[in-house]
Subunit: 328 residues, 2 copies
Amino acid sequence: MKIVIIGSSGHINYAIEGIGLDKECEVVGVAPGSKGESIDKVLNMLGENFKGKVYGDYEVMLEELSPDVAVVACHFGDIAKVNIKALSYGCHVFTEKPLATTMEDLKALKRVYYQSGKRLCAMFGIRYKPWFFTAYKFVREGAIGEIRLINTQKSYKLGRRDEFYKKRETYGGTIPWVGIHAIDWIHWFTHKRFKTIYATHSRKYNKDHGDLEVTALCHFTLEDEIFASLSIDYLRPENALSHDDDRMRIVGTDGVIEVIFNKVFLTNKDYKNQELPLEGRGNIFVDFLKEIKGNGSCMVTAEESFYATEVALLARQSADKNKIIYLP
Amino acid sequence: MKIVIIGSSGHINYAIEGIGLDKECEVVGVAPGSKGESIDKVLNMLGENFKGKVYGDYEVMLEELSPDVAVVACHFGDIAKVNIKALSYGCHVFTEKPLATTMEDLKALKRVYYQSGKRLCAMFGIRYKPWFFTAYKFVREGAIGEIRLINTQKSYKLGRRDEFYKKRETYGGTIPWVGIHAIDWIHWFTHKRFKTIYATHSRKYNKDHGDLEVTALCHFTLEDEIFASLSIDYLRPENALSHDDDRMRIVGTDGVIEVIFNKVFLTNKDYKNQELPLEGRGNIFVDFLKEIKGNGSCMVTAEESFYATEVALLARQSADKNKIIYLP
């Protein structure tokens, strides 16, 4: 299976790790996906084993190599455009999120995708982290009854971000880039639609990062009056034990389950804030390859990838305009 | 110092513990504050040492005994009315929150209070819990820099609540009754005004508790684009290790501090998610008595008590009407 990598600005590690686990796969080409994007990072990660070709123009690469799968991780403002091209050249697409940074781009991408007959999967690799997958399994098996309330958290170290993070046009915003993960968790755990969205975000104290919002807060109401909060910040101290501090607390009619410090704790009639043994689900890209080969189905669907993007863009719009957004 | 207790529906334990610590204080009378309210609980707590008189009508008690301090803990819908009476009879007032369950009652109470020359303090005793007071001290001393984002949580066991919890008129709502604590923390920690309020609440799955909202979520924007979330639920499993699960996470420009599991953790340039030694601040009612006697100032002011009530009522209104509320 021929794989190309377009861009090196996102979580290409998911793909490179996955490719390393699948002997039928080979990276045949690498190219930048955005103007001025360096691909040093991806070349470093591929290392000496890389036997493919390096291109300056990804469209030439797509045309010359006719790859089976395109891994897309360019500047976020170009993701939709590159995905459209890759689908048009007959590739399955494993792509960085958000799938688009404007609603127009999202619509255009969806149109091309649904005509393509190809597969698409966003890099929601956090679902595969054992702590999230374990919590998901328990919730789906009924450990907490009906979900009523969810609190999620994304907290990152800021460090020094690349220049493209500093412009809304190339970055897309912190809710679509960082918050989208938790939007995905909320939808994944509940299987419910978002009905009302309210969000705020702020650029204050962003240490010269231009348009980048350094704090954000989202408030979602899903079907059946399920509420979900999402707290986002880039203020995790550089000194902290890890880059990120992802959390999720799910309150149900029969229990509470919590993902915190990469662990899972459950309280219900049988458990008293007890730590659960973790269960993994492997690598997201391997899962996606299985689906392409017809040997299984990837946990992240194209529909979910589009939906999380749509909700994230609406939340950004809510924050930009300071208004409540209602979904049908 | 003569003290009366009106009602036994709230946290009279703060007062009774405080009275036990002050030899100049004596409970001279007890009466219900609401129609049909039992005062068995307060009589049980006072025990055999109680030498005062039991009244059926608190106004008769106020008139006959001319107490120095009234402790008010009736049904929440009657708090403002009873406070107004107590102030009118020349009492200082130590009162359950919210100070009122309607904006009209709040206005009336404020008017009477500011004319009275007396002291008033809401039962925001959680401020005195060593974990909250310790976090407060570190934040005020600059441990996390400028506050940018706050996440708060109130989670309670529901159990079987008294009948008056089941009607909005007598109960007031879950945001004013439970959420108000976290509203108070947010204001106390930041010393900032609330500018925008958005909230939702739901009665679904409230186990036959009538109007009582069993989940709620609030989203506040304070001055300087500081965001604060508040998650409230009555879904803490009966089996959980404690009645409540109060939490607060404060994200600053130079660090993150967190109150969780009755402990405090700090991350900044000097601390890596390190547990802090706890420091207490005694009993809230003792503090209030000191203020009355001119020997100090209580940590909870009347202004703050009114303000937290106002914000809680506006949040309830936001949730009732599903609209954003803007404050001047």
